[in-house]
Structure formats: C-alpha cells, structure tokens
C-alpha cells in the first residue's frame, strides 16, 4: 500500500518536472554576437561583441511563457582591427562610455513551430529603446558535461543605425546592420 502511494505521488510529480520552465544562464564561452555591416557601398565588414551575459527561460509546455533577457557589453566590440574598434566604441558609433550595454528583454513570445519562436521585446542600443520582433531558433538541448544542462538558441535579425540615433550611416557604413546571435545557456 505504501509502495502504491509512492508510485502515485511520483506519477503526479513527473509531468510537473518535465513541463516546468527551465531557466538557463548565458554561457559566454559558447555564445556569440556577430554583426555584419556594409562598408562604403562596396563591401561587407564582420565583427563581434565578445562579452554577453543574461538568461533565458524556455517553457516546453507553453512556449509563450518563455522569456529572454540578454545584455551585450558595447565596449567588447571586436572587428579584428584595434584602431577601428576604438572608433566603433566612440560617439561616432556605439558611444560605449555613455551607453555601456546593448540589451534585449522579451515582452511576448509566439510559437511558430516546434523549433521556432517569434519573440517581441525591447531592444536597447545607443540609449534608444525600440520594440522589435525577432525570429528565435531553438537549436537543441542536452547535458554537457555531465551534470550541466544546456540549451542553445540562435537568432538573426536586422536593425537600422538611424533608428537608434547612431551616426554611422553618415560615416561610410550602411544604415542596416545584421546581427547574428547564438547563445548557449546552462543550468
């Protein structure tokens, strides 16, 4: 009788554990924020932001309850050329001293299919906050190394520098900047 009761209790608890929303902390070592910007209407320059932190919650049972909160350090910009990086950090572009972080905080999530979400949130860049909607792909989840649960997501979206009061478009770079963000979260 005691054993039966224990089994029944387990049966009640298991679904809750399976469908609980899991919160993952961004693992900076396995996360990456790449930007792609046009140069002088001629070519394309790629660069990255090397430091990002934050967390995201994935709710398997109800993806609309998922949430994303990511912060990228503007001063960690790296375009592979130090002089250019210094220029990018200044008021001609990011103004990293005045606006040290670039942030995205979700406000609503829509499920597209099993692997894709449409996430609307407040994107803050250069001190300007705008609501944007970005596609988020749920790449995968698993245990690696043993004892550490991981979840991987990726998003690719485009913004306009002028929407965020940046002056880069008048300095030989394209107004449109593509951002590619890959984040691995751990718990």
């Amino acid at each position: 009788m005691k054993r039966l009761a224990s089994l029944a209790l387990s049966a009640l608890l298991v679904p809750a554990a399976v469908f609980a929303a899991d919160t993952y902390k961004v693992d900076p070592v396995h996360s990456c924020t790449i930007f792609r910007v046009g140069h002088a209407n001629i070519g394309i320059v790629y660069g990255q932001f090397k430091e990002s932190v934050g967390q995201f919650t994935i709710d398997d049972a109800d993806p609309t309850q998922s949430s994303f909160d990511i912060q990228v350090q503007a001063a960690s910009v790296d375009s592979h050329v130090e002089k250019r990086d210094n220029h990018l950090k200044g008021p001609d572009f990011l103004n990293a001293k005045q606006y040290p972080t670039i942030t995205f905080k979700s406000t609503s999530v829509k499920k597209v299919d099993e692997k894709h979400l449409e996430v609307t949130g407040d994107f803050t860049l250069h001190g300007v906050t705008k609501s944007i909607t970005i596609p988020v792909e749920l790449i995968g989840k698993g245990e690696f190394p043993q004892g550490t649960q991981r979840f991987g997501i990726e998003t690719v979206f485009e913004i306009k520098q002028s929407d965020f009061q940046m002056k880069g478009a008048s300095l030989g770079t394209s107004d449109a900047v593509k951002l590619m963000v890959s984040a691995e979260g751990t718990r």
Binding site: K83, N86, G90, Q98, G168, L171, T173
Partner: protein, 288 residues
C-alpha cells in the same frame, strides 16, 4: 582623410555661409551679424553630419550622445555673442563663461560612469574661467593689434582642436571643429571694420571648450590632458604680439598668430601624424 561630403558640407558650406553673412554684416555695419554667420556655419556643418541619406538632420533634444549638447548649447552661445556684438561693452567678456556651461553639458552625460558629478562641474568651472579670460584677452588684443588678427588666431585654434579631436577617434566632432574654424576664418576680413573680435571670441571659445570636452572624455584614447590644456590656453598667446616693440600692427598681429599657431601645432601635429602613421600601418585606413 576627409570624405568629399565632409569637405563640401562639413567645411566648405560653413565657410560659404559665414562669408555671405559676413559680407552682409560688413555692408550693413552690423557687428552682431558676424557671430551669427559663424554660428550658422557651425550649425549647418553639424546638421550635415546627421543625415542618413545624404541630407541634413538635427540631434535629439535632449541629445542621445552627450557630444550633441555641442549643437544645442551652441545656440545660446551664438545669442550671447550676438548680444556682445550689438552692445559692444567690454565687460561682456564675462559672457565667455558660457564656454563652461557648454563643456559641462558635453561632459555631464558621462556621470557617473566615466566622470563623477564633481569632476564634471570642475571641467565646467575651469572652462568657464578660461572662456571669460580668453574673451577678455581678445578684447584687449583686438583693440591694440587688430580685430582681424584676433579672429584669425581663433580660427587657427579651432582648426587645430578639430584635427586633434578627429585624430583621437572622434571623427564627427573633429569635423565640427574644422567646420567651425572654416566659418570663423570666413569672418577674418570683416572683423576689423566691425570691431567684432570679442563677439566672435565668445562663440569660438564656447565651441572650443565643447569640442575639447567631447574629445577628452568620450573616445579612446581621446585628447590628452596636456593637449586640452595647451589648446585652451593657446588663444591667450596673442598677447605675445603686444610685446613686440613696433608700432606696425600687422607685425604684432603676425607675431601673435605665429605664437598661437606654434602652440597649436605642438599638440595637433603629433596627434595628426600618429593617426596618419597608425592608418598607414593598419588595414583599417583613415575611414571606417
């Protein structure tokens, strides 16, 4: 290297506007129009850098970038300079203290991350004192040596400050400085007849302090502390002209402007050469 757009709209346009308004001022004998010419030239050059599709734009109010306070805080500076030009009283040199408000306005958005509130106030106070002293000295110098020489020396300082800021990873603000120098330079010919050097000095020293506050605190590496100090003090070297033992005004004027130019070059030339060398050694080049 400057782009064609920066050359045409950032520098040539301010010069042309200043020349036209200066000519009107000269013809109508209205001294207060001269700082207006320099000011409108500066504002147009600034606005030309904010258009995303080749047009003109205005910075937000309140500005996003702290450096954009340069634009908005220059408006009262233009008004004060016009007032000084209209009234022509010597004690109006005190209006040069607006330079302190402008420098503080530019530096303040970096509080508390880069600067403390007290440091921003100190920057403003120091710039205010320097602004008033520069205008006072130029009021004296203009009367003894000539208003044209006084305005020419201010043009040299602004140009040097612009190049130094541009070489310190703050391209847009550097171009604003060079554009302002062009506009002030366009007033040189008209200043003697109108005796307007003090009024122009109020505008010039205000923008100079704003430029240097931006160039010092926002970019990396930014203008050095010594660079800022020398560039701010350089307009005072016009007094060298007063020490030249001659009655010929132009000799004293040349001596004064040369003294200013040497001080400016001592800061600007190494900064510009270092930037040029870095650009040559680096695939990034001089343009983003």
């Amino acid at each position: 290297m400057l782009t064609n757009r920066e050359m045409i709209f950032g520098i040539m346009l301010p010069l042309a506007v200043a020349l036209v308004i200066g000519l009107i001022a000269w013809w109508s004998k209205r001294a207060w129009l001269l700082p207006l010419g320099g000011g409108i030239g500066f504002l147009l050059g600034y606005a030309s850098s904010l258009g995303t599709t080749g047009g003109f734009g205005l910075p937000r109010l309140p500005p996003g970038d702290g450096t954009d306070w340069l634009f908005w805080a220059a408006l009262p500076a233009i008004a004060l300079a016009m007032l000084a030009g209209r009234l022509g009283w010597r004690w109006l040199a005190i209006l040069g203290a607006w330079a302190g408000v402008l420098a503080w306005a530019v530096a303040r958005p970096l509080v508390p991350g880069t600067l403390s509130a007290a440091e921003a106030v100190e920057v403003g106070a120091a710039a205010g004192v320097i602004g008033a002293v520069v205008v006072g000295v130029h009021t004296l110098v203009a009367g003894k040596i000539g208003h044209g020489w006084s305005v020419l020396s201010l043009c040299v300082v602004l140009g040097g400050a612009g190049v130094t800021v541009l070489s310190s990873n703050l391209r847009t603000v550097g171009v604003y400085g060079i554009g302002t120098a062009a506009a002030v330079g366009g007033l040189v010919l008209f200043a003697p007849r109108l005796r307007a050097a003090p009024a122009v000095a109020i505008l010039a020293v205000s923008i100079l302090c704003g430029l240097l506050a931006g160039g010092r605190f926002y970019p990396d590496p930014g203008v050095t502390r010594i660079g800022v100090a020398v560039l701010l003090a350089s307009p005072l070297l016009m007094v060298v002209g007063l020490a030249v033992p001659t009655k010929r005004g132009w000799v004293r004027g040349v001596a004064g402007v040369l003294a200013v130019a040497i001080a400016v070059a001592a800061i600007t030339a190494p900064a510009a050469l270092a930037a040029k060398k870095a650009a040559e050694a680096d695939p990034y080049g001089a343009a983003p």
